[in-house]
Structure formats: C-alpha cells, structure tokens
Amino acid sequence: MKRLIFFAIAALSVTTILSNIASADTTREDALDYRISVMTVLRGHIGAASKIVRGLVADDGYLAAHAEGIAAAATELSRIFPEGSDVGESESLPLIWEEPEAFADAISKSKEAATAFVTATQSGDRAAIGKAFRNLGGSCRGCHDQYRVKN
C-alpha cells in the first residue's frame, strides 16, 4: 500500500512538473508573454492587497477578493514555465529547468502560502492576515532570489 501511495504521488508530481501551457500553436514568445501577464496579475493583486493589509486603503470586502485572485494566479505558476520559454525579455534563469524538482517545491510553497492567505483574510484576524501576507511575500522572494535574473 505504502509503495502504491509512493508511486501515485511520484506519478502525480511528474505530471505537475511537466504540465504546461504549451499547445501545438504556442510559440516560445506566446509562452513568455503569457507568463509575464500572469506575473503582472499576481503583482497587481499583491500590491493592492498590501495597501489594505497595511491599513492604508479601506477593505470593504476587497481584501478577500484580492487574496482569491492571488491564489488563482498562483495555481498557474506550475504551468507558465514551459522549457524553452526563456527568450527575449525573459527574466527566468536556466536553473528553473536544470532542477525541476526543487523549482516545483518552491512553487508549491507559494501556492500553499497563497491558500493560507485566503484563509487568513476570511478569518478577519488582522494579526493572522499580516503574518500570512509576510509568509506569502517570503515565498515570492525565495523564488525570485533563486530563479530570476538579478537586476
């Protein structure tokens, strides 16, 4: 049974690592543009959420909406880095494709942190929200530190 679970998990992770946005019609540039768009969506939601988290802008129920936006875009992280898409303006480092398991781990940390942030916003507890947002930021920073060009 243990073996079976192990193989099931292993098979699942391989699929997760390999699944990506590319279809027969996708050019490398399309893949890059798509990635930049998804990252811009993430950055927009995070920037907006931070203003509410810091108490600089009224919540009015929108923090939860931004948190869900972040979590939704974060689920795409594992599919927006197809191999060969480090073209043109890409800021992705080759390390992403050299160590796919480590990269997949880093991505799942971000996904978990995004889900935890959604849960925190639903609780309405400001301290918990602040903590979850910091954790989320830490996961972004961790990945950018390792896998994004330094500039």
């Binding site: 950055r43 972004c140 920073r141 961790g142 530190d145 330094k150």
Partner: protein
Amino acid sequence: MINIASKINYEKILGAVLLMTAFSVFADQETIKRGAYLTYAAGCITCHTEQSDDAMSLTGGRAMKTPFGMFYTPNITPDNETGIGAWSDDDFIRALQHGVSPTGTHYFPSFPYASYTGIARQDLLAIKAYLFSLAPVNKEVGKHDLAWFIPSGLAAWGWKALNFKPGRFQPDSTKGESWNRGAYLVRHLGHCGECHTARNVIGALRREAELGGSNFGGETVPNITPHPVDGIGRWSENDIEYFLEIGMSPDGDFTGSSMADVIDDNTSHLTRKDRLAIAAYLKSIPEFQSSSQ
C-alpha cells in the same frame, strides 16, 4: 567581639561581591543583546555567511565578485585559529575603524571599513561581545583571488592612502534625532553606499553620486535617492519602511536580488523606528539623475 564583627564584614563583602557579579553578568547580557542587534544592523551576517541553505552563520567563505578579483569573506566566529578568537578589543576597533588587521596588514576595501569607520567604539565593542558569545567554529576559508593588475596586499595600502579617511559619525545638530539615527544606519552601520553608490576606476565611492545606483558583482543596484523617475522619490517613508521589512516594492513586486539577503539578515530584524529613520534619511538626500552618470 572581634570575631563577630569580622563575620558581619565578611557577609557584607560577600553580598556586595555577589551583587556586583550579578550586575556585571546582567550588564554583559545587555551588551551582548545590543551587540546582536547591531550585528544585524551592520550587515555582518549577510557577507560573512556562505550562500547556501546549510551554511554556518558568520563562518565566512562567501565569494564577492569585484572588478579587482574574487574576495572570500573571513570566518568571524571566536575560533582562535581560523576566526577572531585571539583578537583584543583594540584589534577589533583597529580592523573596523581603520582597516588594519591585528598583524598590521591593510584590508582591501571589499571589507567596508570606509563606512564602518564612523561606528562608535561602544557599538563596535557590543558587536564584538556578541560575536565572542557565539560558539567558535574552526573553518578555513579560501584566499582572495586578486586580478592580475593588483600586485599584492600592498595595493590595499595604496588605495587607503588615496581614498580612506577614518573618523566617527558626527551628528548634525540642525537635523532631528530620527534623521541622525538614519544617517548613522545608512552611511555607517548598514553601509548602503558600498553597493548603491557607483565607484570610480580605482574602486572608490563617488560621493557626488551617493546612493545613485551602480553595478556590483554583475547586479544592477538601483538608485535609492528621492529622484522621482530614476530613484524612489514616489515611495513614501512608510513604503520604504515596509520594503525594508518584507521586501515588497509599492507596485507589489518582491525583490529577489542581493537585497533579499540584506532584508533577511539585516533590515527585517531592525525596529520599525530604525527602519523609519532610514526612510527619513533616504528621503532627505539629494536627488540623483541616473543618466548623469
């Protein structure tokens, strides 16, 4: 009679000695605690720790790529053989305020003593007390790999003769307490300019371009003067404080450059008051237009 009197005296003396010992232990603990905070503020951990997840803190070995060669930071744990365990207080002060090692050799400016020279003696001794409270780690690090045109350690002496002026930070009485604290943190302890200020051909910081951005170790280091386009003029003091705490710029991006290490090992450990002081200072310096470089 005499016996009783002397007994009382002994008790009094013993009590006084115990009290003094307790007080000095307490004072030592306070100094170590202050030193730990200052060790973060001075960014010691960032450079004196290797860049791997299982690296031992402060044991050195981090490679610093410069146009003058590859420098390896030393082990600064109190190990007698490979660290700084044999250093006296004055050795430590001379190294940090004057760039001279206990054996009398001159350090290359990859060690930011040109900034550290402004740090007060009592702050440096608190840092030393903290470092000496840590477990010594016996670890040898690699020798500097100097570029061919750097003849020897003598070059460090020449560089200092041309570019280095020792001297403590002098508060500006026309400015407030927060500004002065920020100036001390930015210019001296935090030594922000060592990366954020461009250097001339012989590697001296260009004072007229203070914090105007540079290229360092293959990274583009941003302009952090209040210039509205090239710098961070649009950031509020709160934005700067928040960035120094969690690494997010106001547009929602999280930094992943060397600054991520600085945030992890330095600015996120500071008090909010100190981070706001840094912000107040940064907002007060002259705007620098990057295209004028």
